[in-house]
């Protein structure tokens, strides 16, 4: 019937298609929004759980979990410096001059010592350059290593445990009470034998004692300078 001049430009199917199309468009838009929201928080962006190739497959699980080294044995700066610091080759060799002296895995370490060239570690817990994080004050207030670095003692290969995004920092800065622990136990990995209520009660006492005011803790200049 398209032959004769008529106003009927479209077959009935068009209406169906248009309605379906509108629906589809709505779904797509919604999908993109949710997808984007999810992507920005996904491990792909935050690198949470990603293991990076290291010159030496160093196992925190072995050294911390099994051997029982304290974090501060290698990360010596953590208590009095902004940076926890990576151990110099000498620190590795304090033990490995006696243990596993011939292990192929440790060849890069020995080479480093011999050549004086540092070991090229790949940083796992890297904050953006515009964030000024200070380890010492967090340790001094009893923020456990595990709060940010996770159960490092269970990581055969080291991976980022938390999304180092602003929201992550803010959550703690706005309510530190449940993340505080006795300073003596900051490097301890296993969860404390405390109920949530006990933790909060303790945290609140610490905050009172040290005049920690969450209202000013989320100010820009605390981290950005």
């Amino acid at each position: 019937m398209w032959g004769r001049r008529t106003a009927q430009v479209f077959p009935p199917a068009v209406d169906t298609w248009v309605r379906l199309g509108t629906l589809a468009a709505a779904v797509v838009v919604l999908g993109l929004a949710l997808g984007g929201w999810d992507y920005a928080r996904s491990a792909y962006v935050t690198r949470v759980g990603w293991v990076r190739d290291q010159p030496v497959p160093f196992s925190h699980k072995h050294h911390v979990g099994d051997v029982g080294l304290d974090c501060r044995y290698c990360h010596t700066g953590v208590e009095d410096s902004a940076e926890a610091g990576l151990p110099p080759t000498h620190t590795c060799m304090t033990c490995h001059s006696q243990l596993w002296t011939g292990a192929a895995l440790l060849e890069p370490v020995r080479r480093s010592l011999a050549s004086g060239q540092p070991i090229h570690w790949q940083r796992v817990s890297k904050l953006p350059d515009y964030v000024q994080f200070n380890h010492s004050i967090h340790v001094a207030r009893g923020v456990g290593c595990v709060e940010c670095h996770g159960r490092i003692d269970q990581m055969p290969l080291t991976a980022r445990a938390e999304p180092f995004q602003m929201k992550f920092c803010l959550d703690c800065h706005r309510d530190p009470s449940t993340r505080l622990r006795p300073v003596a136990l900051v490097t301890r990995m296993e969860p404390l034998p405390w109920s949530e209520a006990e933790r909060r009660a303790y945290g609140l006492r610490v905050m009172a004692a040290h005049r920690i005011d969450p209202k000013v803790l989320d100010n820009c200049e605390i981290c950005h300078r």
Partner: protein, 952 residues
């Protein structure tokens, strides 16, 4: 964790496993050493731990890349995670991320400026004054601050050159050995050593040894027309002088003695503010200097009139038998004022006469001082030793005559600074040059040997007060360069290391304790020269008749920013606005407004300046307050070689040095754009800089400004800048640049109005351009309580902190520039381009790791050195105490030699800043803008008389 938070019951006190803390628990811990090391960092460097160990902490090359990565310098955008490179050997510099300070010094014209070098991860990132040293009192000048960048200059010479081609030190050593043999044979005949002024006792000792070993050798001094401070002379004591008269002299101006004089002037002036005696400064000068701007009474006088003024002054104070010439009424008024001032301050007066003035003038000044009994206001320093160099001028004829067979130029640049050197050098058989750069002289030399920067070598020096300063390296030489001592050592065939050489110079340092003490304090005890009795005043010689004033008189001065050109490779100094003109990146022919009117000149017009048979061509700059017929030019520009930064900037006026004959100024073709950071200097009816007449006067109170209550918080940071103390020396500006990683943008961008300085020193004048009143005003961010900028930002990138800081969050900024548009003070700076990410690693290493490096398209501004505030806050928090008064010192405040800048907590009534603000001279800049600035100013006091009276 503190006792007031006991562990709740049920918590295991033992922590499962037996953690072991580290080697220090296994080995015997040297507790004493640890604490000592903490308090005296330099000790931890273990100078006694042997050369190798000593180098370790300074080992920069090893981890430069790592240091760059760790320092977090890559701007605001997200980057893939970098590699981390821990040191191979435990860092004796202490934990990474903790700054350490080491006492050292840098030299200008052979005068050492005592410094503390701040190092992070084993590399210097900032220089501060050494509070332990009387010649510094913790203050620095612009040159001292900028020395850091010279150390990291990517254009520094990296390897020896033989006839221009890179070679090894081994070959250089062979050559020197050969030369030594030849000289031994010939007794040094035809050997000449050419240096700049040498203050280092060790270097002088080496030179003495050289001259003794080779009697035929000569030592020449290249001072580019400046006095050799190391040859002894009078040391002014402005702190004791209640009335100072400067005739064509610029004691507060840039130069080796600026810090000494400025700190002393600051002491005097502050005492005067406190009611303890007068602090009058009478200046007669051909062209305005910062001393003239600071003066309580200034007179623009042609150089030729200085003698006349001096005579009149002598007559005024009653020196007998002085022939006087007639004076103009302004001159008369000035002489009367100055004379009365001197008379009032009898015995506590000081007369300084510029070195360009004839000896007769100097003698007359001495006579007046003697007449008034002004002995206490100056100390006469003896020459350092018996060595007296021959002036470089005497070298050229010898060279031209072929009497020079071997010439060793050590750390000087005669091919640039000594007209005629190049031609004469052609007749010299062997030309050696040792310097930091492959400069004009190096290009003429057969051998060029790269020198190490003072901050990376062992040495010593003489501070302004004559006392000796040990110089220790902050970092290992990261280029294949040798110290000046090592170079002479090679020639003389002694292979000792520099540290030994220096210690040999100082027998009193032979035992380690004394040596360590010297290194810690940054001064060598008992090295102060005994003050000799001042030279007896010669009888007033008859003054040379004043030359006709119709002709022009030429004044040649070192550039206030790049000095004699040796610093021309330093971008921080090239882009530093000159105090009076605010010119950057180049020099100009400065003329008086009157002369400009006569000859129809305007800023930027090219002119040919001729003195006798020599002439140079350059752009004109009109300088209000300059004497009618005086023409001022600055040395130090028009470099033809050396650092890339230095080349092709400005024009070289060395040819005019010592030129005799009439001075002429002709219009040349064309004009040039001069990169000035300030276009309008006239302060009409505005009161940006406010004055009170006398100490007793106060400013009228401001009406309450805002509807909202003022901000209450503790701490509440604020700053007070006393314009009565500020001398506009620019030390604060460079200190700010160094502390805050402020990028340099170059002449073109400065001319467009895009300089990045967070802190600028505005300069105004009021009144008749031919004889105006000048004033300086440093302008950082005002940190307004009711900040308009914050209202404008759509993304919360600039907000207010509870302790009263106006924050700028770079990584949140999207660059709408609304904050800048709304800022009445225009203190905000914008990254119009990517200014940082292409910096070479050397410059990255120079950056302060505690300050974010800004990326393209974000706004930045003064933060009150928030990184220092945060550091103090964290330290205080760890010790569970409030931040102590004076614990936070901003970079500008630390550098200021007169302590014009005070920073602190305005919420405590007892703090220094509160005391300043409580005074009657305190005022808000642009109070009518109703922004409630936290930075306030104290008005200048016109009079220097303790008991009122004088009107300026």
């Amino acid at each position: 964790m503190s006792e007031d938070t006991p562990l709740p019951t049920g918590l295991p006190q033992a922590t499962g496993q037996a953690y072991w803390r580290g080697l220090d628990e296994l080995v015997d811990e040297p507790g004493f050493m640890a604490t000592l090391a903490e308090r005296f960092p330099a000790l931890a460097t273990g100078p006694f731990s042997g050369e190798a160990g000593d180098w370790r902490r300074r080992d920069i090359l090893k981890c430069l890349g790592g240091a760059v990565a760790l320092a977090g310098l890559d701007g605001c955008e997200r980057r893939p995670d970098e590699e981390a490179l821990p040191a191979v050997v435990a860092d004796e510099d202490g934990t990474p991320g903790v700054a350490r300070f080491y006492a050292t010094a840098v030299e200008l014209d052979g005068v050492a400026q005592p410094l503390l070098g701040k190092t992070r991860e084993g590399r210097p990132v900032k220089l501060e004054g050494n509070p332990e040293h009387p010649a510094s009192l913790g203050a620095t000048d612009a040159f001292g601050q900028a020395a850091l960048l010279d150390l990291y200059d990517p254009d520094r010479s990296a390897a020896p050159l033989e006839r221009g081609t890179p070679t090894t030190w081994a070959r250089a050593e062979d050559a020197l050995t050969g030369l030594r043999a030849a000289l031994d044979a010939s007794g040094g005949a035809g050997f000449r050593l050419l240096t700049g002024p040498v203050g280092s006792p060790t270097l002088r000792r080496q030179i003495a040894g050289l001259l003794a070993r080779w009697p035929g050798a000569r030592w020449h001094l290249l001072a580019s027309g400046r006095t050799d401070h190391t040859a002894g002379g009078d040391l002014p004591r402005l702190d004791r002088a209640e009335a100072v008269v400067c005739l064509d002299a610029d004691p507060l101006g840039p130069g080796p003695w600026q810090v000494w004089n400025a700190t002393r002037w600051g002491q005097r002036r502050r005492a005067f503010q406190g009611g303890a005696g007068s602090a009058s400064l009478y200046v007669a000068e051909p062209s305005p200097t910062i001393t003239g701007v600071t003066a309580t009474r200034r007179l623009a006088a042609a150089p030729s009139r200085i003698g006349v003024l001096l005579a009149a002054l002598a007559a005024r104070v009653g020196v007998a038998g002085v022939a006087t010439a007639p004076l103009t009424s302004p001159e008369r008024a000035w002489v009367d004022a100055a004379g009365d001032g001197l008379a009032k301050a009898r015995g506590r007066g000081l007369i300084l006469v510029g070195k360009d003035q004839p000896a007769s003038a100097q003698a007359l000044a001495a006579a007046i001082e003697a007449h008034l009994g002004n002995g206490a206001t100056r100390t006469a320093l003896p020459p350092l030793d018996a060595l007296v160099p021959v002036d470089a001028a005497a070298l050229l004829p010898d060279m031209a005559a072929g009497r020079v067979r071997t010439l060793l130029v050590l750390g000087a640049n005669p091919a640039y600074a000594l007209p005629g050197f190049a031609e004469a050098a052609a007749r010299v058989a062997t030309r050696l040059h040792a310097g930091l750069h492959v400069d004009e002289t190096a290009q003429l030399a057969h051998w060029h040997l790269p020198l190490a920067h003072l901050l990376e070598s062992w040495s010593d020096g003489r501070a302004a007060d004559g006392s000796a300063v040990p110089i220790q390296p902050l970092v290992r030489p990261w280029l294949d360069a040798r110290s000046r001592h090592a170079v002479l050592g090679l020639l003389l065939g002694d292979s000792k290391d520099d540290r030994t050489r220096v210690r040999e110079t100082w027998p009193q340092l032979s035992d380690d304790a004394a040596w360590e003490e010297a290194l810690l304090k940054g001064r060598i005890a008992g090295s102060e020269p005994a003050a000799v009795s001042p030279r007896p005043a010669a009888a007033p010689a008859p003054l040379s008749p004043p030359s006709p004033t119709d002709g022009l008189s030429l004044v040649v001065r070192p550039d206030p920013c790049v000095w004699d050109g040796s610093l021309a490779g330093n971008p921080w100094l090239q882009e530093l606005p000159k105090p009076l003109t605010k010119l950057t990146w180049g020099n100009a022919v400065h003329v008086s407004p009157a002369l400009a009117r006569e000859q129809g000149l305007k800023n930027g017009d090219m002119v040919r300046l001729t003195a006798g048979d020599r002439s140079v061509t350059g752009p004109v700059w009109i300088l209000p307050g300059q004497e009618r017929h005086t023409v001022l030019v600055h040395l130090g520009h028009g470099r033809r070689a050396g650092s890339k930064v230095a080349q092709g900037v400005g024009f070289d006026v060395h040819p005019l040095l010592g030129a005799t004959g009439p001075v002429r100024l002709e219009r040349a073709d064309g004009s040039a754009t001069l990169a000035s950071t300030q276009q309008h200097f006239a302060m009409e009816e505005d009161e940006f800089v406010r004055f009170v007449d006398t100490l007793a006067d106060t400013l009228p109170p401001e009406p309450a400004s805002s509807f909202y209550p003022p901000q209450k918080s503790s701490p509440a940071w604020g700053m007070a800048i006393d314009l009565d103390l500020c001398i506009g020396c620019n030390a604060c500006v460079v200190a700010c640049v160094a502390e805050n990683n402020v990028p340099m943008v170059g002449a073109e961008q400065v001319a467009k109005g895009r300089e990045m300085h967070w802190l600028r020193v505005d300069r105004y004048y009021r009144g008749d351009p031919d004889d105006p009143v000048h004033a300086f005003q440093p302008v950082p961010c005002m940190h307004c309580e009711d900040a308009p900028c914050e209202m404008g930002c759509p993304v919360n990138a600039t907000v207010h902190s509870p302790d009263g800081l106006n924050l700028q969050v770079y990584n949140r900024c999207i660059g709408t520039r609304t904050c800048s548009a709304y800022c009445p003070y225009k203190v905000r700076r914008f990254n119009w381009f990517d200014l940082t990410s292409k910096d070479p690693p050397e410059l990255r290493a120079a950056r302060n790791p505690e300050v974010t490096v800004r990326s393209r398209g974000v706004m930045e501004k003064c933060t009150y050195c928030i990184q220092r505030i945060s550091a103090a806050r964290i330290t205080a928090k760890k010790e569970d105490r409030a931040i102590a008064e004076g614990e936070v010192v901003t970079a500008c405040q630390a550098a200021c030699p007169t302590q014009a800048i005070v920073f602190g907590d305005v919420s405590r009534p007892d703090s220094a800043v509160s005391t300043r603000k409580a005074g009657g001279r305190d005022y808000d800049l642009l109070a009518e803008a109703q922004t409630r600035p936290r930075t306030t100013y104290q008005a200048r006091i016109r009079s220097g008389e303790s008991h009122g009276g004088e009107e300026a």
